[in-house]
């Protein structure tokens, strides 16, 4: 029973992990830069949700809809004002730039909200759903469903709209896109906006499950990076599976050994993946198919 509970709990957290990681993967796919400000964006999303809940009593699940467009605009603005200027220079330049953006986000949040750990606790926060012997926290289920809806909507957008296809095309071959008349700058801006919006929404959802402070980003940055390395950089199924693997590994670590070591899991997993299967799960599957 404990194993079943661990599996379900991991699956539910994986929805949140996948949402935050996909933002990172989308931006990496299109622009080939790692958005180090991703976790900072998530943190801002969490605080925006906190403010909406405290000031106006808006439920975190609803505020996802408010956060998304605001963060899309924020991302587009960051791309147009900063990231675009360093396009084409060495990768470390964009890494340092976004590190700076992250520091600014983190210290601004600390200035405004202080360093305290916050939590959003709506009335249903203690509610559970019982299926036989297994109890499932209502909030986790809601967060999982919201994450799943967001990712399915995104996948539909990327597959069916012109802009979505342009984003996928850009991830494959930027030069070919420019040659066939796609406005690569505009599409990059949209992709960065979408990635930022995903991180913001993940931040909103996170408030229901985890307590947070302005400094929590580092760990989630590492987690989402581990997930996209494990899951292959541009596939939603890969990222979903990788999110589940990470969530399960963390869950088992907490259950079987010390809770303090939970934060080590993502790093150990990252190193193991890099050593054993540098191409991630996707490459592993491909190799099996070939053999």
């Amino acid at each position: 029973m404990r194993l079943a509970e661990a599996l379900i709990s991991a699956l539910l957290v994986a929805g949140l992990y996948a949402t935050m990681s996909y933002g990172l993967a989308l931006i990496y796919g299109v622009m080939k830069i790692i958005n180090l400000a991703n976790a900072g964006t998530m943190m801002l999303g969490a605080f925006a949700t906190f403010v909406l809940w405290q000031q106006f009593g808006i439920d975190p699940l609803l505020s996802v809809l408010i956060v998304a467009p605001i963060f899309f605009a924020l991302g587009a603005l960051i791309e147009a004002a900063f990231v675009r200027r360093v396009a084409g220079s060495a990768p470390i330049i964009s890494l340092l730039l976004l590190f700076g953006v992250w520091l600014v986000m983190q210290s601004l949040a600390s200035l405004v909200f202080g360093g305290d750990v916050r939590a959003v606790r709506p009335v249903y926060v203690q509610d559970v759903i019982r299926v036989g012997d297994i109890t499932i926290a209502y909030t986790r289920l809601a967060v999982f469903l919201a994450g799943a809806i967001i990712l399915v909507a995104l996948e539909l957008f990327l597959r069916n709209s012109f802009l979505g296809r342009a984003i996928r095309a850009l991830a494959q071959d930027r030069d070919a896109c420019a040659l066939s008349g796609i406005d690569t700058r505009r599409v990059s801006m949209v992709a960065f906006g979408l990635g930022t919006a995903l991180a913001g929404m993940a931040g909103s959802l996170l408030t229901l499950v985890f307590p947070f402070d302005p400094d929590f980003g580092r760990l989630f940055q590492l987690k989402s990076f581990t997930i996209i390395v494990l899951g292959g950089l541009e596939s939603i199924p890969g990222i979903a599976v990788a999110s589940f693997v990470l969530a399960l590994a963390e869950n088992l670590t907490v259950t079987l050994s010390k809770p303090a070591l939970e934060n080590l899991v993502s790093f150990v997993l990252l190193v193991v993946v890099l050593v054993v299967m540098p191409g991630g799960l996707a490459a592993l599957v491909r190799r099996r198919r070939l053999a």
Binding site: I34, A90, L96, S107, A260, L261, L270
Partner: protein, 338 residues
């Protein structure tokens, strides 16, 4: 000093290198004289110790981050590894901490190879992100080490209290380590090894094609960088006589180690020193000037963004621009074609 540096850049290579070595020795010698001239100049000793300490750390970081272009967001791990190596040896065997400085550096270097080998073999930003994990994992290790292995070595979050030690000797030790760090960075910059690192920084594929052993050189650069950080950590242990995981492995430390070389001038010999001077003076003054602990981070973040966009070579870049401008004003020479 900057005028000297700027002029030195136009001399032939060997003369330039010897000029830089002379500046390092003069600077180190002058700072080494401080406790001899005035034994009671504690404030100045503290300020110059931390100036050299930050300069050593920034210089060490610059070898992997600036020369090879592999950014580390977890260098506090190597600093802390060195500090704890010296701390633990000193605490348990009563060995003179200054004697353990090379051991501390070596421990940090070995540790860096262990964590760097899997992450540096790959292209792209894997190393940079993994270093965030390295920093966090090492901090957790230091906190939980005694629990996990059932021994008493790091004393976990309570911290490791060390015996007293002669402040003047630590001061001389710091000067020596600073000189070693500067000679190392000057040597690397002029060497075949350094050229290989610059090639990797510009284009890994091209470097690989012309026969640069990219993975090996990057790991060597990381080990060298970690060695200097670890040695600096050892001196921190000898000076502060107290170590705790929060202050040694804190992410703030890693941020500082990124900031100084980037603000000073990425991949230059003197940039990290400029950055360290700025940072240590600002840190020294900041407590009395601003009450808010978050404001400095905000300023550093904004500074980082501005520097990356407008002057990727930092203070060193600004200075060389200024000296170029001054020279063309004075001599009225036509602008050189670059």
């Amino acid at each position: 000093m900057t005028a000297v540096v700027a002029r030195a850049q136009r001399l032939p290579r060997s003369a330039r290198i010897w000029g830089q070595v002379a500046i390092v020795l003069l600077l180190g010698g002058a700072i080494a004289l401080i406790p001899i001239i005035d034994e009671r100049s504690f404030n100045l000793q503290r300020l110059t110790f931390f100036l050299l300490w930050y300069a050593t750390l920034a210089t060490g970081w610059n070898i992997i981050g600036g020369y090879a272009g592999q950014i580390s967001f977890g260098h506090a791990a190597f600093l802390g590894m060195g500090a704890y190596t010296t701390g633990v040896i000193w605490f348990t065997t009563k060995t003179d901490p200054l004697l353990t400085v090379p051991v501390a550096g070596a421990a940090a270097a070995v540790y860096s190879v262990l964590v760097g080998a899997p992450t540096l073999r790959l292209r792209g930003p894997y190393f940079a992100i993994a270093t965030i994990g390295i920093g966090e994992a090492t901090r957790l290790l230091a906190v939980n080490f005694d629990d996990i292995f059932g021994v008493t070595l790091t004393h976990g979050v309570t911290g490791l209290s060390l015996p007293n030690y002669d402040a003047a000797r630590v001061h001389y030790g710091m000067v020596a380590v600073f000189i070693v760090a500067m000679l190392t960075t000057i040597w690397v910059r002029g060497s075949r090894f350094g050229l290989g690192l610059f090639a990797i920084n510009m284009d890994v594929d091209a470097a690989e094609t012309v026969g640069v052993p990219t993975a090996r050189l990057q790991i060597a650069a990381l080990a060298l960088s970690a060695f200097l950080s670890g040695a600096a950590g050892a001196l921190y242990a000898a000076r502060q006589q107290f170590l705790d995981p929060g202050s040694m492995f804190g992410f703030d430390r890693s941020i500082a180690l990124v900031l100084m070389p980037v603000v000073g001038g990425l991949g230059t010999v003197w940039g990290p020193v400029f950055g360290a001077v700025l940072y240590s003076v600002v840190q020294d003054q900041i407590q009395s000037l601003v009450r808010n602990p978050y404001l400095p981070t905000l300023i550093y973040g904004v500074l980082l963004v501005l520097i990356v966009i407008f002057e990727p070579l930092g203070i060193a870049g600004l200075l060389s621009r200024a000296s170029d401008a001054a020279r063309s004003l004075v001599r009225r020479r036509p602008e050189r074609v670059r």
